[in-house]
Symmetry: C2
Subunit: 236 residues, 2 copies
DNA sequence: ACAAAAGTGTTGCTTTTACACCCATGC
DNA sequence: GCATGGGTGTAAAAGCAACACTTTTGT
């Protein structure tokens, strides 16, 4: 571990701080909210599951770029929803020495993601957030924070559409809300409210296949969303 | 500027990242929202105004502790409202080399603060947010972010009470909202709503002095606040 | 015909908004 | 007595919550 002295403003300061980014990547699969974890190949916490992440590199133009890079090392996705969450820098959070991490929230469409373990990982997998292994470092805390942020954002931002395919049924949209908020929602009120906003565009297309009535498919309109007021509009 | 190579996970990584904390400290004075700035004594941006801040030090147990320390170097205050805002780490934000800063929001009671320039500053002062000098680094952007966060938080958290004296009148509370949100609020609705929540405790005491009817003094009850629902309750 | 999920309206209640005048004090 | 800011109520509108049955399809 490096421990370098250099001079700033005339006083000697020990620079033993490193900066990482970690990514909490969520997707909805079947009936649960899932998070992407990697199995660590190296110490510390070798063989434990952890959030994907790594050091900020000179090539990263921004923190967000670093987070996108880390995520793309474990998946085939790019151009995804990515939002800075919070920074964690407690003195003892990394046994190797002082490490500040900037945590990001990523939202993926499950069906578009292919996993591929990066060089520092012996595995990558989705885990349902309600049945998780012990995580390395303070990643458990970071994940808890991410979940509460997601619950919060879903009520006043259109982030949920980043978890769904481009075309979706009203029921799958409602499922996403129910999974994330962890509660049942009245379907009549849900539909009324969403259809009332005008941000769903009817695709004039139906699902087929089930032994039941087909469902209409909708698309999200960012355009219509942006003309809504900025107060919570998706509270149920 | 140091530029150190060391080995992590078998690959050589250039560690030229430094970590700072910057603090956007607000207070309400007369009829404006004011922010605390320091005048830089050293390059870069010598003699320009900037947010108070500085390097994360080994003695700082946490990022928040570092922010509190930086703020206490310019003021006499401690034990204040302090909340992490956002981290900024674009490659070129500091001409000396890569520097990630974790920005904090602080809320102070104007009348309790005494200013004292720290060693790295040739001046400290309050500036109304609507009449600011050019700021060093990307501090203008950080400040904008802080203002929008404050506007946002004031609607569903009791943070406004950190800007007011312990005892305050309903009018001074309303002023705080009007200053921060930048709009007039109907005073009957404002009072009804706030008194209805039960989080204001009547002190059975009146202001005196003005050539007008005296006003009742109230105190904030954290206890009552915590039993309210978690939806926005201070929207006007 | 039946199982399974899609789709649909109404009512009471709560919350929000809009709006104008009287009250207590110092000078 | 007048100037100054403190303090009060009501009605219309909008939004929210609770509630159960019909429709369409595949088998």
């Amino acid at each position: 571990m490096p421990n370098i002295e250099y001079t700033v403003f005339g006083s000697s300061i020990v620079n033993d701080v490193r900066v990482t980014v970690d990514v909490v990547a969520f997707a909805i699969e079947q009936d649960s909210l899932e998070v992407l974890l990697i199995k660590r190949k190296y110490e510390p916490f070798r063989n434990q599951w952890a959030l994907p992440g790594g050091f900020l590199l000179p090539g990263d133009g921004s923190l967000e770029e670093a987070a996108a890079r880390e995520l793309s090392e474990e998946t085939n996705v790019s151009d995804i929803y990515l939002e800075q969450l919070y920074s964690f820098g407690d003195r003892d959070r990394d046994p190797r020495g002082r490490t500040v991490t900037i945590a990001y929230l990523a939202l993926l469409r499950a069906e578009e993601v292919e996993l591929q373990a990066a060089t520092d990982a012996s595995g990558v997998a989705w885990f349902p957030v309600h049945s998780l292994p012990d995580l390395a470092f303070d990643h458990g805390r970071i994940l808890d924070y991410a979940i509460s942020r997601l619950r919060y954002k879903i009520e006043y931002s259109p982030c949920v559409f980043s978890l769904l395919p481009e075309s979706f049924t009203l029921r799958s949209l409602q499922n996403a809300y129910e999974i994330i908020l962890g509660k049942q929602i009245d379907n009549r009120n849900f539909r009324k409210k969403f259809l009332g906003t005008g941000i769903l565009i009817d695709q004039d297309e139906l699902t087929r296949g089930g032994p039941h009535r087909p469902a209409k498919l909708y698309k999200f309109s960012l355009n219509e969303f942006s003309r809504l007021a900025d107060r919570p509009i998706f509270t149920f």
